[in-house]
Symmetry: C2
Subunit: 189 residues, 2 copies
DNA sequence: ACCAAACGAGACGGTGCGTCTCGTTTGATC
DNA sequence: GATCAAACGAGACGCACCGTCTCGTTTGGT
């Protein structure tokens, strides 16, 4: 968000905008969300928002990803891949399956569908790291030899399971995700 | 869509609206989509649309689900569960992974996030039947004894894998889905 | 032939969009 | 400390759609 420009940007305004965006999203949902409301709530001119965020979807993604409601957590390495990754899956499910986590994930998904650039950013900051961390743990396993293709399939099955459950408004529990991950990993040997 | 009313509804208008909705969605995408444009394109009064569809999301879902771009296909039963279900997964991936199928799935997802009622309808007409058909095939397997919980996990992992790949704009091929399903099913025994 | 419901058309007030001035503040540079 | 251009808060602007509301007109069941 603040990479190349050599200018003076107001940090106060930036934080107020992100805060107002998060508040409004969790109060009224993505549908009722408007730039106008953010400007009013943040005590900021609309131009200031449009100057730094090209559209609504990117602002939404930026604000949600700045929070640590949900975030890419690395799996441990105790030497037992199945145990490490099923535990990791359980933790992730606990986070994404909570009311707030699920709401955040759904809004992020909608924002990603709204704009390809947002999709890229979401993948760069969340799903991408998640995939990499898990495949890396799989690749580092001494007790399980796998091909890169197999690793991608297994990891995407585990992540996809959770994404699908949340989006279909079906329950996603730590226990269910743990069992499911163990099952997928069993298929890997 | 036409269940309880004893009134006289114009079939001509209904079809024109669904057709116009599909056309506009695939021409301009979900963002640019408006009821106003549908009315103009279909040669219909706005009131006629609002009379039968309570909101934009439900109209979108109805129109997209009326098409057979994507649809719940049953797996075969040749006696070999792994072969049947991995083939089924491959067929589904070929459908959802195509440009048109992927676009449809993404718009349906966005519509489902927009309105809970749409989410319910999407699940009722698409993901629900998909889950049931696949779990039924698993349950009918002579060569593989599974618990209901295991069946749900396996099926949701396979479906979730595809949904996730499409939404993350990652490639979803028949071959990848086939291999992935085979892997999950291997974990089931 | 009757008649009420559904229809096409479009006017209406309201809301938020994205752009565009304003005059004011701010922070890097001299 | 004075200078000065960029960023700022505020809000006016025209525009696109929203969802509701009349209008006559058409339609299909009785």
């Amino acid at each position: 968000m603040s990479e190349d420009q050599p200018r003076r940007r107001s940090e106060r305004a930036r934080l107020a905008i992100l805060q107002a965006t998060n508040d409004l999203l969790h109060e009224n949902g993505l549908d009722a969300f408007s730039i106008e409301a953010v400007a009013a709530r943040a005590g900021v001119g609309k131009q200031t928002i449009y100057r730094w965020w090209p559209n609504r979807a990117i602002l939404v993604a930026d604000a949600l990803l700045d929070r640590d409601d949900i975030g890419p957590v690395p799996p441990r390495n105790t030497g037992d891949v199945a145990a490490d990754l099923s535990r990791w899956a359980g933790d992730l499910a606990a986070s994404l399956g909570s009311p707030r986590g699920a709401a955040t994930l759904r809004m992020l998904t909608a924002a990603a569908i709204e704009s390809p650039e947002t999709s890229r950013r979401l993948h760069e900051k969340f799903s991408g790291p998640l995939q990499e961390l898990a495949t890396a743990r799989l690749a580092a396993a001494d007790d399980l030899r796998t091909t890169p293709g197999q690793r991608r399939h297994a990891v995407d099955a585990i992540i996809g399971f959770m994404v699908f459950r949340v989006q279909a408004h079906q329950d996603l529990t730590r226990r269910g995700a743990t069992e499911m991950a163990r099952m997928v990993l069993r298929g890997l040997r």
